[in-house]
């Protein structure tokens, strides 16, 4: 049940990331001497809205979205593997759980870093003059939600007994070998 909730959260994190990646991270509107210009940034670059109302895309877009989308793909892969965990060898099953943590961590790192950029952009004082209104967009909030949900999912799919409380069977240093141990001749039951 916990595993199923975790898988759902991982998938939800991926969907939220995909949705957020198309939304605007922040939007700024500048009103200067009656003219209104705007700038909108997504995970795939920014676009200007000129006072005439036309939109221009920046020449070289900053593709902040690449790590976030890779994290989303990893979230889906990890979710599918965790779902099939019973049919997988123990190593692969653990790999899936570790992969879920890696994907969630990757997403947190990417979203946090983009968030730092958005924070600076929305706090920035206007050096030119006029009125500058900057607000974080829906894309940013969706990405933050995605990161939180993905982390919750990654934690939910973890299994408690990670360290065996017993020695593994293949540890032939301390376990009794299949044919028993040689004991002292005085207590031997052999004829």
């Amino acid at each position: 049940m916990k595993r199923l909730a975790g898988v759902t959260a991982l998938l939800a994190g991926a969907v939220l990331t995909a949705t957020g990646s198309t939304g605007s991270l922040y939007e700024t509107t500048r009103i200067d001497s009656g003219y209104r210009s705007g700038y909108r940034m997504t995970l795939w670059g920014g676009e200007y809205t000129t006072p005439e109302g036309a939109t221009e895309v920046g020449d070289v877009p900053i593709l902040f979205g690449v790590p976030a989308v890779v994290a989303a793909v990893l979230l889906v892969v990890a979710a599918v593997l965790v779902l099939a965990t019973r049919r997988l060898p123990a190593g692969v099953a653990l790999g899936a759980r570790v992969g879920a943590v890696v994907a969630a961590g990757l997403l947190v790192g990417a979203v946090w870093t983009v968030g730092q950029m958005v924070r600076a952009a929305t706090e920035e004082s206007d050096p030119v003059g006029g009125t500058l209104v900057a607000t974080a967009g829906t894309g940013m909030w969706l990405l933050i939600a995605a990161a939180v949900v993905a982390v919750a999912g990654a934690l939910l799919v973890q299994q408690r007994p990670e360290v065996p409380a017993y020695q593994p069977l293949d540890d032939d240093d301390t376990d009794t070998p299949p044919m028993g141990v040689r004991i002292h001749p005085s207590v031997s039951t052999e004829e």
Partner: protein
């Protein structure tokens, strides 16, 4: 990967754990060092006066200090430092694992690989900025990748390796528990319930010559 060659005696568990902890610690140190180094350096030659722009994890710096830098710098370093602190904490936890209760084992390995992943996500996102700076086609702009970026990449690789080593991969020799005096009985988890041999074995009739004592 690291785990294939890691089978063997009981000491290999300790070696693996130590190497993992050292790698996690090294990743943390490298990330902190990288945060003080330039991510990329751009030389602008638009006018006769050359200008050098340096991006660090705390904002832009210009060689011509025009406005006293009133523009708020983007604190890309915050998640990097946070990941470094988490890496350092998990390095200590991994190293101290045998002295900690077993319930710490799961959170420790999650923290180890998780913090390495946060560092990687942050580094990658900053790296996207470097890619944009490098792809600038302007001949008046000369861009070089800074030592901070390469240090961050190395920090990520080292931290991820440490995070993977800190996992309890099945088939690897686990840490030998401290031996208590007397008989040691290892009880295996029983999925079917009751089908296994009980811990102290089943009583059998002793048919040997001097049996029946």
């Amino acid at each position: 990967m690291e785990r294939a060659s890691d089978e063997g005696g009981p000491r290999s568990g300790r070696v693996r754990r130590t190497v993992g902890a050292v790698a996690l610690g090294a990743g943390a140190v490298l990330a902190v060092v990288a945060s003080t180094l330039p991510v990329f350096v751009q030389e602008l030659a638009f006018t006769a006066q050359r200008e050098t722009f340096t991006l660090t994890l705390w904002g832009f710096e210009s060689s011509l200090d025009h406005n006293g830098g009133d523009r708020a710098g983007v604190g890309y370093g915050v998640p990097v430092i946070a990941a470094a602190v988490l890496l350092a904490v998990s390095a200590v936890l991994v190293l101290a694992a045998p002295r900690l209760p077993a319930r710490f084992a799961g959170p420790t390995s999650v923290a180890a690989i998780g913090s390495a992943a946060v560092l990687t996500g942050s580094t990658w996102t900053v790296g996207q900025l470097v890619l944009v700076a490098l792809s600038s086609g302007d001949t008046a702009v000369k861009t070089g990748v800074g030592s901070g970026m390469s240090t961050l990449v190395i920090a990520c690789v080292v931290a991820l390796a440490g995070g993977l080593l800190a996992q309890h991969w099945p088939g690897l020799v686990s840490e030998p528990r401290p031996e208590p005096g007397g008989v040691v009985v290892y009880r295996l988890p029983d999925a079917e319930g009751g089908a296994d041999t009980p811990p102290f074995g089943v009583p059998v009739r002793d048919d040997t010559a001097e049996g029946g004592s």
